[in-house]
Amino acid sequence: MRKLNITKLFVAVAILLAAPLLVAAQESHIGKYDGNAGAGKQLYFRYCWGCHGFRGDGNGENAQYLNILPRNFVAATFKCRSTVTGTLPTDQDLFNSIKRGFNNSNMPSWIELTDQNRADLIAFIKGFSPRWKTEKAGTPITIPAEPPVTVDSIKHGKELFTKLECWKCHGPEGRGDGPSASTLTDNNDQPIRPYNFAAGSRFKCGSTNADLYKIFITGLDGTPMPSFADVIKPEEAWDLVHYLRTLQVTHKSPELALWVTTKEGAEIVASQKIYGTPTGSGIKQ
């Protein structure tokens, strides 16, 4: 009798533990890869759950040691998307995130995983949130071809930086020290810092000009960074991209090289005092 009870208890506990995993299997499609949630589950419980948690809610064992909290897959609010603010990211977006990792956070680039592995993981993590069952991924924004970098383009970008008040958070020199910077919190009420352009070359959601374009057009959901999709015209957006590159004074770029050939640009860049190492690690964050 007693033994039976223990067996029953064991079965009950097993069912309880399995409950969060008994979600309807999701699919993922990235190029030629079709993700398999079953295979993704194996990978998740090897690589991901330490931080993202047993239930995918971002409350893994290691979460308490992290400053930028692990993504909560149940809430399914994602920063790096190609889709408009307030929508789910595409499979490709999630795929890119796993492959790239997140600069300035504890999420590394998972380069040891194969593309098939990543597709499988995405199919699995989509099962954590009810959102994937009722909503479709948003439509990716269209990014027009990048026009050539010109001095006029950079200057216009500089005007936009002022007009759109990017400096309120990112600071007049893009150092992440604007008047509102110290008050910012994310949607978990955790303090969050605006990106410091002077400190490095890579952004949270990629390192190319197109990634930079995407960041301010889609916004980073869950953070104070809003979407500028309705307020910047596509050609203006490229101008802003070109100017933002010149703020990365520790990073060689065609934009910066052109900017310092002008009198205005050379003065601005020269007046930017670079402290510490070339990576900008000594710069006030």
Partner: protein, 236 residues
């Protein structure tokens, strides 16, 4: 199985239609919201970092997390029917949310599921509108001066805090509700829910960030009933 489900859904839809088509009743629930205890002290907002907004206010405004009136009345409480009334389709009018003098007007905006929400910026500065929805989708949009209003709608009922990250003192609330029987208390703390058909209702009074009280009320005929809510406030 699927057929059965469809049939059930049809029945539910039919029931909903017949319930709403009963038309507005003539019962009324009204009352007053007051508080006991000590409300949190509201801080004067320093808008010196945003001069264009500072000059909109002859005297500096204070935060609005708790707004009280004479006689311990409590403002900005959403009083609504949380159970007993059928869900209603949204009205054709839009719910308007204004940013003026770096302040949200109104501080608490109540509207229905599916109703058009219109957010406008009357200031000479950029705002970002960041409704921190948990049940609905969270979005965050920039709205520079002179740009057209942002429109949106919500699919599910939820109390949503709204923030402007650029101006950290700006804080408001959306109350997305399932039916048209709601009111937001003014300075005198009073509310009135008219046009109620006879029935048993659960009235909920909600105050930000998450204080909630409920009472059950039964209305027969064109009865008028009075209900009062007393919130317990703590200084911190």
């Amino acid at each position: 199985m699927t057929l059965k489900l469809v049939f059930l859904a049809g029945l539910v839809a039919l029931a909903a239609v017949t319930m709403t088509s009963a038309g507005p009743g003539s019962g009324t629930i009204s009352g007053k919201v007051t508080f006991e205890g000590t409300p949190a002290k509201q801080k004067t907002i320093d808008m010196s970092k945003e001069p264009s907004c500072a000059k909109e206010h002859a005297t500096p405004i204070t935060t609005e997390a708790v707004v009280t009136g004479p006689g311990n009345t409590l403002e900005n409480v959403v009083v609504y029917i949380s159970a007993g009334a059928p869900d209603e389709p949204p009205p054709s009018t839009s719910a308007n949310f204004e940013q003026k003098g770096c302040q949200y007007l109104p501080h608490v905006l109540a509207f229905q599921v599916g109703q058009e929400l219109k957010i406008s910026n009357d200031d000479q500065t950029s705002h970002n509108i960041h409704p921190l929805a948990k049940i609905n989708r969270e979005w965050n949009k920039s709205q520079p001066p002179g740009t057209p209003p942002i429109t949106d709608k919500y699919d599910k009922a939820e109390m949503i805090p709204v923030k402007c990250n650029i101006h950290p003192w700006m804080h408001g609330n959306f109350a997305v509700l399932k039916n048209s029987h709601y009111a937001v208390t003014g300075a005198d703390g009073s509310f009135k829910l008219p046009n109620l058909p006879p029935g048993k209702y659960t009235i909920t009074a909600w105050h930000e960030p998450d204080q909630e009280m409920t009472q059950d009320v039964e209305i027969s005929g064109s009865e008028s009933k009075t209900v009062s809510f007393v919130f317990k406030l703590k200084p911190y």
